[in-house]
């Protein structure tokens, strides 16, 4: 198993058959799909961990695709991907909670938009959407603010853990022989046979190239002479409320999209807390993942309208993610067979849901460019540690504790993360490179106290493992 984080890239003399640039949820899914083939595959990322760009700040919903543009590539890939990922999640231990969504109408304009949305869902192949009257909505969500006129119920929208998903893909890929190189930014590409990538860790040669670089997909494209789209970072700020707020709602509360855009949602998370957001701000800076006073004030104002009691709860975390907006309505997945090159651009919030279908689609496109795709065999299944609150976690598992008392030693009290889980994560196939990476693998110090009680102990365990 090969995971490297520093030093010159290993050089076996032969170029890689395929290199995937970008180890987000999409790039990792592609690497996992390629790992089924008898090929030399590399997955590289500029940062020190997988899923640490756009993917880590996803709204964490497994979408039905009911509101995609009918007939679009996104519509098809989300629909297929939803099925693929739901089944993969069940096998791999990725937590999924099918709570359903309500698109709540707060004014006449939004109420009038519901029938068209229900119809659009049907055109996207989703037939279970139903319009609910105001009284029905209120009985399902008693804590909603005043003024609810009705809602569209999407019973199959689900919660999922985006961190575990990316990590499961990458883990399975690495175990099946894919080389994962982190801290490995692509500085330039010399197209050729093979292509030569100049990276921060030296040259990397590859016959086929997949660009899943997210916010930087347009930069990589330009290295190969393409200017199909420009990525504009769109910032989404989010507020995560305490787990004690989880009882305030039962569904994902989606806004009814209108002329002003998609709007702010309130959703439970698989970790048992409640998330409010995101904002949508087009920026110039692809690194500006800071929150702002204005953004937080806007979210609080919207949240107070949707679920007034939420604002009395303690805030656990505030963060911002950047989405790769291209100004286009659909995914920008482009094959350049003669260059043996595929760009996977403009993947938005639905990319998590669609990731496995995108991966299959990309492998097909690579085959058009001459990548041999015969001899596929299923990789060994992975079983990921469960981070979901609706499923048994080690601190509640008498058999696990009896077999290994470290699963009874709670280190992070707010999130009930045990020493055994932290130890396992630090020794895992794709080990964390930072305390933040450890948090995304275990939830350690991700809770309400943000380290008041456990921060030093968690850091000590992390530092000890790194020595």
């Amino acid at each position: 198993m090969t995971v490297t984080r520093s030093g010159p890239l290993p050089d076996s003399g032969d170029p890689y058959d395929v290199t995937v640039v970008g180890a987000g949820v999409v790039g990792s899914a592609i690497a996992r799909a390629l790992a089924r083939l008898p090929l030399r595959t590399a997955l590289i990322d500029a940062s020190d961990d997988v899923g640490s760009g756009t993917s880590k700040a996803n709204t964490a919903i497994l979408h039905t695709g009911f509101d995609a543009v009918p007939g679009s590539l996104e519509s098809r890939l989300v629909r297929d991907g939803q099925r693929l990922l739901a089944s993969y999640a069940a096998q791999s231990g990725i937590p999924v909670e099918p709570v359903g969504a309500l698109l709540v109408a707060w004014n006449e304009e939004q109420l009038a938009a519901l029938p068209a949305l229900a119809d659009k869902a049907v055109r996207n192949g989703y037939r279970s959407a139903r319009i609910l009257a105001a009284a029905d909505v209120r009985s399902r969500e008693p804590q909603l603010g005043p003024g609810v006129l009705g809602a569209l119920h999407i019973p199959d929208e689900s919660l999922i853990c985006p961190w575990t998903t990316t990590l499961a893909y990458a883990t399975q890929a690495v175990r099946a022989g894919v080389h994962l190189h982190l801290n490995c930014p692509v500085l330039s590409v010399t197209p050729g046979e093979p292509h030569t990538l100049t990276t921060g860790r030296g040259p990397l040669r590859t016959r086929h190239l997949v660009n899943a670089a997210g916010l930087y997909a347009d930069d990589i494209d330009r290295f190969l002479g393409h200017a199909d789209f420009t990525v504009t970072p769109r910032r989404g700020q989010l507020i995560v409320f305490d787990e004690l707020a989880r009882g305030l709602l039962r569904h994902i509360l989606l806004p009814v999209p209108d002329a002003r855009g998609k709007g702010v949602l309130v959703t439970p998370t698989v970790y048992g807390n409640v998330m409010l957001g995101p904002t949508a701000e087009d920026l110039d800076d692809k690194t500006d993942t800071g929150s702002t006073a204005e953004g937080l004030a806007l979210l609080r104002e919207k949240g107070r309208r949707i679920l007034p009691a939420l604002l009395d709860e303690e805030v656990t975390a505030v963060y911002a993610g950047l989405r790769a907006a291209t100004g286009q309505e659909d995914y920008a997945i482009r094959a350049h067979p003669r260059q043996r090159y595929v760009t996977v651009g403009g993947i938005r919030s639905t990319g998590l849901t669609a990731s496995m279908a995108i991966a299959d689609h990309v492998v097909d496109l690579l085959a058009e460019g001459g990548l041999p795709v015969t001899g596929a065999r299923e990789p060994d299944p992975v079983r990921m540690p469960n981070l979901g609150e609706a499923f048994p976690r080690p601190y509640r598992d008498a058999a696990m504790i009896a077999a290994d008392p470290d699963y009874g030693r709670i280190v992070c009290h707010c999130e009930r993360v045990t020493r055994g889980e932290i130890r396992d994560a630090l020794a895992s196939t794709v080990a964390p490179a930072s305390p933040d990476g450890l948090r995304r693998r275990t939830r350690a110090r991700g809770g309400r106290c943000q380290g008041f009680h456990c921060g030093a102990a968690v850091r000590a365990l992390f530092e000890e493992a790194r020595r």
Binding site: I401, P405, D436, G451, F452
Partner: protein, 396 residues
């Protein structure tokens, strides 16, 4: 495994241990104290400075003081179990626990919540900006330095100017971290010699990718600035650890955010008591210990079958007051009420009214400060009508 005890105390800080000691000495039966940390003793265990202990000999340091409470409780016959976490309730007086020895259900005749308090982190204070490493609370700072000997940073800013903030500054300096400034939104505070104190100042943004590089700040008159630092410690802004109370349906007071109690530390859940900083955020260890000790008599009375009282009229506060404990009047209070003001006042007058009738009014001896509780004598509570409306405390 199912276990039965007479009294189960959750939290082995000064309040929980003082109570367990008294109860065990009084022969209350099987008294068990659960502590989720590896060490019993509560916050003093992490406070390596002197000044703990009872006058005229207040010169113990925190760890010695903590050890003394643990020894007293154990000597009295209480069981103190560390590394065991109460994770939820299996019944009104039955707690579920997790520890290295496995899962347990502990049923008690009386449950006491002595879960202490924590500081609100940066996120709960909604301080905008990036999410770099180097952002912590005093709780994390103390454990990093004293318990794990971890490096902290080179140059720190301390947010807050209460005693805990001055202590954070001392610990930072002791561990080799320069303190660039302390800042507070309040108009005045006691400075630490050699550390610039910025008053009427708030943090408007955290900057830095990977590691903190600085803080954007704003003075109330509109001036702004940037403080370069690789570490920031958010101090004070305490909130009771009330998770177990809420999960058990024990009503909280909106002001303190701790369980609502009467003057006998009884919550509104029969058989469940609450003591110490779980009630009100941070007070001195001695105050917490005194509360714990004072709860012994009502807990014993409950064990002997005394009826659980009706909630009685609520004690409420009006701005600038933030909270009062106790929160209910079910009998004459025997100990001073604790009252916290959100604004400084030089000669505060406290007034208690019920249904428009003034029960009590007095000018207090000292000034009111947002960082220290006022003590209000309890005797007047006898005049409250047990069946009347809320008793309202105001400060003018």
């Amino acid at each position: 495994m199912d276990v039965r005890v007479d009294v189960l105390v959750v939290g082995a800080g000064p309040a929980g241990l003082a109570l367990a000691t008294r109860l065990a000495q009084a022969g209350a039966g099987r008294v068990e104290v659960l502590e989720r940390e590896q060490h019993a003793g509560g916050m003093p265990y992490h406070l390596h400075h002197g000044g703990f202990g009872r006058p005229p000999r207040p010169w113990l340091d925190g760890p010695a003081y903590a050890r003394r409470w643990v020894r007293d409780a154990v000597d009295a016959g209480a069981a103190v179990r560390t590394g065991v976490t109460a994770t939820g309730w299996a019944g009104p007086l039955c707690l579920e626990t997790t520890g290295p020895a496995g899962l347990e259900r502990i049923t008690a005749r009386a449950v006491v919540l002595a879960t202490g308090a924590r500081e609100r982190p940066r996120s709960a204070r909604l301080v905008p900006g990036s999410r770099p490493q180097g952002v912590m609370t005093t709780g994390e700072l103390l454990r990093s330095v004293h318990q794990h000997a971890l490096p902290v940073g080179r140059r720190a800013v301390v947010v807050g100017a209460e005693p805990v903030a001055r202590h954070a500054a001392a610990v930072l300096r002791g561990s080799g971290t320069a303190v660039a400034a302390m800042l507070t939104e309040h108009p005045y505070a006691a400075a630490v010699p050699g550390v610039p104190l910025l008053t009427r100042t708030t943090v408007t943004e955290l900057r830095g990718r990977g590691r903190l590089t600085g803080l954007a700040i704003r003075h109330r008159d509109g001036r702004t600035g940037l403080l370069g630092c690789d570490t920031v410690v958010f101090t004070g802004d305490w909130i009771p650890e009330h998770e177990l109370a809420r999960r058990g349906g024990v009503p909280l007071d909106p002001g303190t955010r701790g369980p609502r109690v009467d003057a006998s530390f009884r919550t509104e859940a029969p058989g469940v008591f609450a003591v110490g900083n779980a009630l009100h955020g941070i007070e001195r260890a001695a105050t917490a210990a005194r509360e714990g000790a004072a709860a012994a008599a009502p807990v014993l009375a409950h064990l002997e079958g005394a009826p659980w009282p009706q909630p009685g009229p609520a004690l409420e506060v009006r701005a600038p007051l933030l909270w009062v404990t106790p929160n209910r009047i079910t009998g004459t209070a025997g100990r001073p009420l604790l009252l916290r003001s959100g604004a400084p006042l030089t000669a505060p007058v406290v007034t208690a009214t019920q249904d428009g009738r003034t029960l009590w009014r007095r000018r207090l001896a000292g000034p009111a400060s947002p960082s220290r509780s006022l003590r209000v004598p309890p005797r007047w509570t006898v005049r409250a009508d047990r069946t009347g409306g809320p008793v309202v405390l105001t400060l003018g």
